[in-house]
Symmetry: C2
Subunit: 421 residues, 2 copies
């Protein structure tokens, strides 16, 4: 079993010690470790599925909901998909060592700004065993050690998976403690992890709002909060209304449970009467529950739509539900988005370039779209070919967190005896 | 007076509202505002010095030390230097709007990653009135609003200075609340400021360890902790010993009270007997108090040197005091630096390129020097032509924090109706 009997502090310290070997490992060594991981996932699929079956029995006894059981369940296909994912990470460009800047200073010093790994990344997640492999692969490729803290419902499954990665690291001569799986304890353990300032460089929570709130209370290590998304689609007065309808429906319906799905539709008063009847009818037909302000409801032309209150503008439903508001101007739309949005992904539909620019400049969000669905905010769609989360913070990483976002930089300065006058 | 009677939350909210106008202001408008600031500093120098005189009388009555009084004191020359500094910031390149990446996604979307201001930056500082002007100028140029929280000892001086910047903003039609000076209250007010998540995007403390510790306890807004520097100079076995002596002396003596000054000198055992007698004698002559480990003391050849204990290796003396240790290898030097260092600035002196590379790769610090003094870690020396602090964190900004480090980015994505399949 890879679950450690060590304390949280000892585990993080072990990862810290292992991190320097990862940081200086060549791209080839890291890729060979990833290939070994993929191979061992195949060879030991029996162990993994057996561990998973035991977790599932316990989970059922403990009353896990069907949805959570589904997320916890591994099958041959799902394990194969994990192995494929590891292979895909191996094929990504190694971000480590990239020279970001070079210049000769007035003092004659040669200054280079070079990309280096963060060191130790901790990930806290729920009962999704694939996160164990996905995140370990991304941190290995980016030269980081990882401390994993999963759900106790998945403890045996995660143990089997972490063992595989650790053995793969050993095979290529890298320290197995570059991947450490903590025993999933209670909130006390979480608080301990979140305060290991000396050893943990970044903590990424992959879980709901409760987890984030708990971390905000206690964390002293840097945390990137993966996003809640209260995203808007704004239909401007100069919009192509057909495109607007397709975009609004796609942003809401295509996958309502994710953070880049739209939660509010804003429509310019000038086109509300033209746009809303067809758009709302199509949304309703797709099973979307609608709530709206007074004017939206008046333009609904018989489509069933409830009354929206202040809470609706603030809600990330993550479900087939949509709030609909009518605004009098572009400025009012921007103001609404900045007041209620969570700085994730926002879209304007318009044929007016100046309106698009104004919206883009005025809206404070990681991604601002013109004439496209908010659903494109994603590391894979963005061509980063990986994603460990999606940041709504402004520091360090904004939007999709890929390999490069798991690195920092270091200034390497070479002289021939320079001293400061 | 520019000191606001509003609550902390109201003040930050006002800055937030003002920030969008700053964010979309043209380079020219921002530069004209800076020029007006410099001009008004000259025109109202009498007001500033009068306010400062009153602060100083109160400070003396309150028992401020001579050193703190000196930092608080303004003179005509010091105000003129501030005005010159504002002019220098105006001449810097505007970081806002820079296109960091551009690509066409598989979906046909046009993606641009564009540099944008952070929004609202809060700075907490001690009784150094020049920080008021320096930081306001840097945030204006980078398109941010700023919330200033200075020392109550400098309250009148800061009020006069902030009024000048606010009036300069008004002159060019920018909202004066882009520069807000809080009344300097106690720790409670500080805690309030550090938890304004909805309005403050970044908090930069410019003060001692006590302030940082207080913030670590309570802050929920992102903080960049400007650096403590326990910096090392390591004299490798293949060092040019003359260069090593000059570098060690410079790193310790040239300005001992700053974070990039050296606090520990490590010497390879192979050159200790050759190097230490002259080097320690020169350091002692420059008034440096020396402490060392057993072997360093044995090589001191009569130079006065006390016994170093564990606490000395951890100390940032910020004074004419130096700890001296002898190590048996490059590996031991790296291990020592990584154990005791604060990830600020570290130097190796060597003629062996491989040793230099190994040290550079192995040491975890913002800046690693080969054959140069640690004293070069500085925004101006690095050619950034500005500095608001020096970060020993790894996220977002590492090393000198200049204009670019006061920005984030936004993805601007343009389509022609794309929806996700």
């Amino acid at each position: 079993m890879a679950v450690t009997a060590k304390s949280v502090a000892e585990s993080c310290e072990a990862a810290r010690r292992a991190s320097s070997a990862l940081g200086s490992a060549t791209t080839e060594t890291k890729n060979v470790a990833l290939a070994a991981t993929a191979r061992l996932l195949g060879e030991r699929i029996g162990d993994v599925l057996e561990a998973n079956a035991t977790d599932l029995v316990d989970g059922r006894d403990a009353g896990l909901t069907d949805a959570l059981q589904d997320r916890l369940t591994l099958t041959e296909e799902r394990v194969e998909a994990m192995a494929d994912g590891v292979g895909a990470v191996a094929s990504l460009e190694d971000p480590v060592g990239e020279e970001l800047e070079q210049r000769t200073l007035e003092s004659g010093l040669d200054l280079r700004k070079v990309r280096v790994p963060l060191g130790v990344v901790a990930v806290v997640y729920e009962a999704r065993p694939n996160v164990t492999i996905d995140c370990a692969a991304l941190t290995i490729k980016s030269g980081n050690a990882i401390v994993l803290r999963g759900s106790h419902y998945a403890e045996r499954t995660n143990g089997a998976l972490a063992s595989i990665v650790r053995d793969a690291l050993s095979e290529v001569g890298l320290p197995e403690d570059a991947v450490v799986l903590l025993a999933a304890g209670g909130h006390e353990d979480l608080a301990q992890l979140a305060t290991q300032d000396d050893t943990v460089d970044l903590l990424i929570p992959r879980g709901g709002e409760g987890l984030k709130a708990a971390l905000k209370e206690v964390a002293t290590v840097p945390v990137i909060y993966a996003a809640a998304g209260n995203c808007h689609v704004y239909v401007h007065s100069a919009a192509d209304l057909d495109a607007a309808r397709r975009i609004a429906v796609n942003a809401k319906v295509q996958r309502p449970g994710v953070c880049n799905a739209a939660e509010t539709l804003l429509v310019d008063a000038g086109v509300a009467a033209d746009f809303l009847p067809t758009a709302l009818a199509e949304l309703r037909e797709a099973g979307v529950e609608l709530v709206g302000d007074q004017r939206a409801r008046e333009s609904a032309a018989g489509v069933e739509i409830g009354a929206a209150d202040e809470g609706d503008w603030r809600s990330e439903y993550l479900d087939l539900k949509l709030a609909v508001g009518v605004v009098d101007s572009l400025e009012e739309a921007i103001e609404h988005v900045n007041r209620y949005g969570t700085r994730h992904s926002e879209a304007i539909v318009t044929r007016d370039d100046r309106a698009a620019e104004e919206f883009t400049a005025g809206v404070d969000a990681a991604v601002v779209y013109t004439n496209a669905s908010t659903r494109f905010t994603d590391g894979f769609e963005f061509g980063m070919r990986a994603e460990i989360g999606n940041s709504t913070q402004k520091l360090h990483a904004r939007g999709p967190i890929g390999l490069r976002e798991l690195t920092t930089y270091k200034y390497v300065v070479r002289g021939d005896g320079q001293v400061r006058e």
